[in-house]
């Protein structure tokens, strides 16, 4: 059975859009990035290794596209419309979980490298190795970015206060309910 890997592209559109938005944090730019990455993926499909992780391959293309544009448009890099933070804030919690609004605001304050590492590893389910390959850095660098990003988020949301017992309980509730939804 021969399948055309190009047929699989459509399955990754949603994840590509989410990743693009987390990188550039501007909805219009994000969709332009996705479009450009799709065209590149389509025309370079012969470089995709059959059976390998297509999502990781696509994320790498999108990321390279983003950073080459970034270099071209140095003066426009602060064009952040808070779209990712808004999405983070869209679902207010009713069961005592951390307020998503606070989380989104904190996430927006991370540097690009930490945000990217957290999105790939924390949200996208990438292994440290896959994330390292996608970002073109060493595995240890990704681990360090993830750890620093998490620590910074915890600090920004004041989660690192050891006396906050009530929050600890709500965190546990949050984890349990998040798993049951997934």
């Amino acid at each position: 059975m021969t399948t055309d890997p190009r047929d699989e592209l459509v399955e990754h559109l949603g994840a590509l859009r989410a990743f693009a938005l987390s990188l550039c944090r501007n909805a219009a730019t994000a969709d332009d990035l996705v479009q450009e990455a799709l065209i590149k993926a389509w025309t370079n499909i012969d470089k995709f290794e059959a059976g390998s992780n297509m999502r990781a391959w696509l994320f790498t293309i999108l990321r390279n596209t983003y950073y080459s544009l970034h270099r071209k448009r140095k003066r426009e890099v602060e064009d952040v419309d808070g779209a990712y933070a808004d999405t983070l804030a869209q679902k207010p919690d009713h069961d005592g979980r951390l307020a998503m609004r606070d989380f989104g605001a904190a996430f927006d304050q991370l540097n690009d490298e930490q945000r990217e590492a957290l999105v790939l590893v924390g949200a996208g389910g990438f292994s440290y190795e896959e994330a390292a390959e996608t970002c073109g850095v060493a595995v240890g660098t990704i681990k360090s970015r993830v750890n620093r990003g998490r620590a910074r988020l915890a600090e920004l949301m004041a989660l690192d206060d050891p006396d906050d017992i009530e929050l600890t309980d709500s965190v546990t509730v949050g984890i349990v309910s998040a798993q049951s939804v997934a």
Binding site: A15, Q35, W42, L88, Q90, G125, A154, P162, T168
Partner: protein, 58 residues
């Protein structure tokens, strides 16, 4: 509770929030422009990426 356990819980909660946000975004309906683009590519209408990029298709 030990400091390490606490850190693990915080990390898990942070990842759960990240994942929830990412999945919410990823599960949003995909705009037609992307499915249109894929159809266009399939019919050979936009195989030259560099030329295609130069145009604004909106």
């Amino acid at each position: 509770m030990t400091r390490q356990t606490r850190k693990t819980e915080i990390d898990a909660e942070i990842d759960a929030n990240l994942k929830r946000a990412f999945d919410n975004l990823a599960n949003e309906p995909v705009p037609d422009r992307f499915t249109d683009l894929l159809n266009q590519l399939r019919t050979g209408g936009a195989t030259d990426a560099s030329q295609k990029e130069a145009q604004n298709d909106d």
